[in-house]
Assembly symmetry: D2
Homo-oligomer: 260 residues x 4
């Protein structure tokens, strides 16, 4: 059976400081997500939180992770740049990345996108409907025409991201906005999936459709690449041409300065 080694990063701050959030996610959002993932065929789950050494993201952990899931909100700035460098390198080598909700402002997501990743938002516990616009993608399998969430924080356009390689979900909000809620990109040998649901004050990570999408995301994001092909990360000097070169009229140091 195919194996999926998942590491779930959660800054794990709200759940310790806020009584309401603690009641909702007593073991943290990461364990709510992990409890579901553990039951998926072939999945093994590891947790990482901000206060662990290296935020739980040592080189050894990353080397043994197929897909990294990321949740952060108030503590993006506390994630060390050297850890972000390390995670980026592993993604470019083929580790999948799933970014959830407020993770859109995390250092790692902004690093991979190259853009501000800004958006507009509102907390009014309004209704959201995530429409599947690509019913053929591996990530949208097993869903109906949409996922409905009764109470959410709203995210609205303009979402400052590179045009997704594929757009999977568009959200409708009761208050009048829309949002590109499910997007995928390829970067280096890695695959990246952004999925919007997931505010800390709502029981989003107990919703079966949300969890199903995240599990599909893990299966999609796992690297299936060709480790024999050369040159993705390095910048090698390939001295020998494959074809014989013609005699050069060019000689180093003997070129005349052309007339502009």
């Amino acid at each position: 059976m195919e194996k999926y080694r998942v590491t779930i990063y959660n800054e794990f701050v709200h759940e310790k400081k806020n009584e309401f959030v603690k009641k909702l996610y007593p073991k943290g959002m990461h364990e709510a997500i992990g409890d579901y993932m553990k039951k998926e065929p072939g999945f093994s789950v590891n947790y990482a939180t901000l206060d662990m050494p290296d935020h739980g993201l040592t080189q050894e952990v990353l080397d043994n992770t197929d897909v990294l899931m990321w949740w952060g909100h108030v503590a993006h700035g506390q994630v060390k740049d050297e850890i972000v460098d390390r995670v980026q390198t592993r993604i470019l080598q083929g580790m999948g990345l799933i970014v959830m909700h407020s993770g859109h402002m995390s250092k790692i997501f902004r690093r991979m996108m190259g853009t501000s990743c800004g958006l507009c938002w509102r907390e009014a516990a309004e209704r959201e409907r995530l429409w599947v616009v690509n019913p053929n993608h591996q990530i949208t399998q097993g869903l109906g025409a949409y996922i409905e969430l009764p109470n959410v924080e709203m995210y609205g356009e303009v979402f400052d991201i590179p045009e997704p390689d594929e757009l999977l979900f568009i959200s409708w909000f009761e208050g009048g906005e829309v949002f590109r809620s499910g997007c995928v990109w390829h970067r280096g040998r890695g695959k990246i999936f952004y999925f919007r649901p997931g505010h800390e004050t709502f029981p989003i990570f107990y919703n079966k459709d949300v969890l199903k999408v995240l599990a599909n995301g893990v299966r999609w994001a796992k690297f299936a690449g060709n480790t024999e092909a050369r040159g993705v990360i390095e910048c090698p000097n390939v001295k020998e041409p494959l074809e014989k070169l013609s005699p050069k009229d060019y000689k180093m140091g003997e070129i005349e300065h052309p007339k502009a």
Copy 2:
């Protein structure tokens, strides 16, 4: 007449250290490029080099730049991170960026792409033919089916970049390789153009077709965006919904912990 305020950054190291390069580009590659650009209708040209204060890229300079051109090779690491931050912010606000040749490994290009931007290479003064694969794009106007360069440094695939929004040129090399030599991306409000030609030891920046493409690139990359639209850089809280919200069954602090 449309105005194009161009700033050309060149690290300007080879031209001062290497006698051969100095002979080829006595005032630096930036001025060779600039001499052509100055003759284009509406173009004004400003220069920036590594050894200037802020590498010549002060906030004031960037605020008055429509398109920034970038050449660097041996001194990428000496470009200060705070200047890279500043340039990235201006690109996301709408400044165009044209990256030439070995600039593929510059901090700013890797920052905008999110990838390693690696490739493979060879110095053998071989022949290159840049085929136009998108003859309809603004950047390829005024060219024939290809541009031929008699002596170049080779760049070969795999080029570790995000799939370009549009692919404009593919290079054929005498020694047997191919390369995606002209690529464009959109990031934030900014436009980015990577163009391969330009090694310091060849008179590439006197080639009329190369210069024509770069001037077309400036015209394409200049921001024409809508400054009224909200939300590209900031992440604003839009408190008032546009539509009236239904009464909520959700109350903060009263949600029961759902059964997992």
Copy 3:
């Protein structure tokens, strides 16, 4: 001044049969659109309707059209296939195409897309809000964050189109759906813009923002391509290699059948 020769095709059936539509668009939707276009700098306007010879789309008309706008609904099937062939050829040669509203099911749009172009719909005179998700594109210039239309026919996802080259607008509907309402594609040397608004029973084509987007669309869709580049439409035999070929070990008729 740049010239834009616009031909507006309207099947012109509803306006002649339905008293209500006739009152709303007494000269037809094409002339409502055309009255606005004529006032744009450099625009000239020509009309084509189903009942004209060749539906008004003779070779001469097409040869003198920069951008063709298309509205149809109940009479898609009456458009002759030979005219669709002719229009497709001209688009591939560089004529722009703007498809409005129910034109999504026209023969020419389905021909250019290769897909069914299906969607779901509802007539309930509900509110629509078209959010600008790409505020930097030429087509979205001069708009606010969204266009609001008080009464429209709803179009909902899944919209069976190829992933757009760029997504410009996403619609929010009062009744709970979303839709990719502004999409662009490149095909051959031609540019294609689909824009959702425009039902015959609503005064959509008098809305200044809708008309502004359509005029921007004309400016964007006009061909600016390179007529010197070879090979876009034809499939030429280029007998002479650019490089000298090596002696072949292959001789026609002398190859042994390899072992499978």
Copy 4:
């Protein structure tokens, strides 16, 4: 084990008319390809040729095909339009399509692309090197940095196709040209893969790397979509809004003609 029901269409004309081709492919190119496919885990193979009733592509055959492979050259015009319609419909419903070599000018490929699919070509038995530019894709697994073919017909740019969703291979030709040799697109629920190698006068379809790519293509192109999601092919009227609509000020027949 996953099942892959493959139908290989070959017009099967050259092999019956030309002594040299007959010697090279005594049972036709389709059987050369099929002999390899039959050995892949889970693959079953069916053949279709031009001279069969319905060209071997009855509704029943298509309904029992996961992936259709297509080779044609001199007899594209003899393929009946009604069969092309039928094949297109099945692709939009989720059947994969792999188009090989001169199949670029087939009715079905041009139908799916919407473009002319033209290119330039030369028969000079020259060397080709297909570089992998996307080493992470399912289709390029198990290959080295490139595939080398000693004697081929050349195809050169401009290849008149929609920008591929992903570009997998770029060819280098001894005679000086380049070509986008491996491209994938999504259309409706179907996946399409174009792969360049395959001229009738060369033993291309005995090359193990070429066959490996084609088998990978079958695995990639097989539909894995969600048959529950609505609306891809049909255009349904969804009468009931999900949300309650506000009272309308609009009444059919009572709208005043707005001032233009």
